[in-house]
């Protein structure tokens, strides 16, 4: 919320705020169904290791926009204008990239849930990964590289100036 206020401050009246994420299936929100078994297995695993740091998959970023207009009984008296217009515009472009198996693991291991593991613990997850990619529905290209599915997700909105109604009226006049 503090960040939203700061973004609101630097934007010109009716300026735009855009957000972009690149999200692999295995790093998605909990109710998202992954494209293949191995990606679902890793997604499930990452959720079991949740460290409660807010990330895209927790969807808390979206709650912040909803809360900006959560009005209490006082809001009727003092008036509480939201900072950014709702509903947010959203767009998702799905993509697939192919990587050799060891590179897929390297990429997966950059997630902090796996990056912090050492020795035997890390080896266990690695074996889980190797078992999961051996599933029948794992997609491969002609070079034997594995498919990683994901999406580029964009959301955007615009600033509502503090005296938004007046300014819009002035524009029309």
């Amino acid at each position: 919320m503090e960040s939203l206020r700061e973004l609101h401050r630097v934007l010109r009246p009716h300026g735009c705020l855009g957000m972009i994420w690149n999200v692999e299936d295995y790093n998605q929100r909990q109710d998202h169904k992954a494209s293949t078994t191995w990606e679902q297995t890793m997604q499930d695993y990452i959720w079991t290791q949740d460290d409660e740091q807010p990330r895209f998959r927790h969807q808390k970023w979206k709650q912040v926009f909803d809360e900006q207009i959560r009005s209490g009984p006082l809001a009727l008296i003092v008036g509480s204008e939201p900072l950014f217009s709702l509903p947010l515009a959203m767009h998702e472009d799905p993509w697939t990239v192919f990587l050799p198996k060891d590179k897929v693991w390297d990429r997966l291991a950059t997630l902090s849930q796996i990056a912090i593991l050492e020795g035997e613990e890390r080896e266990l997850v690695h074996r889980k990964f190797l078992g999961a990619v051996a599933s029948e529905d794992t997609q491969k290209n002609e070079r034997g590289e594995l498919a990683i599915h994901g999406g580029t997700i964009a959301a955007w909105t615009s600033k509502i100036p503090a005296s938004g109604a007046t300014k819009l009226w002035e524009k029309q006049a």
Partner: protein, 54 residues
């Protein structure tokens, strides 16, 4: 990630240090803010803001 952005030496793009809660820009100074590449390890959002000339 910041270094990657700097190394690209994009024309008309200035890289500044900042925080999502204290952006080094004056009030009502930019047309748009795009938030991307939010770190997996860092907790606070990084941001990029570009002044557009219309």
């Amino acid at each position: 990630m910041r270094r990657v952005l700097e190394d690209k030496r994009l024309s008309r793009v200035e890289v500044k240090d900042g925080h999502s809660t204290s952006i080094p820009l004056p009030d009502e100074s930019v047309d748009a803010v795009v938030i991307a590449q939010v770190g997996q390890v860092t907790i606070r959002h990084r941001f990029g803001a570009k002044r557009l000339s219309w």
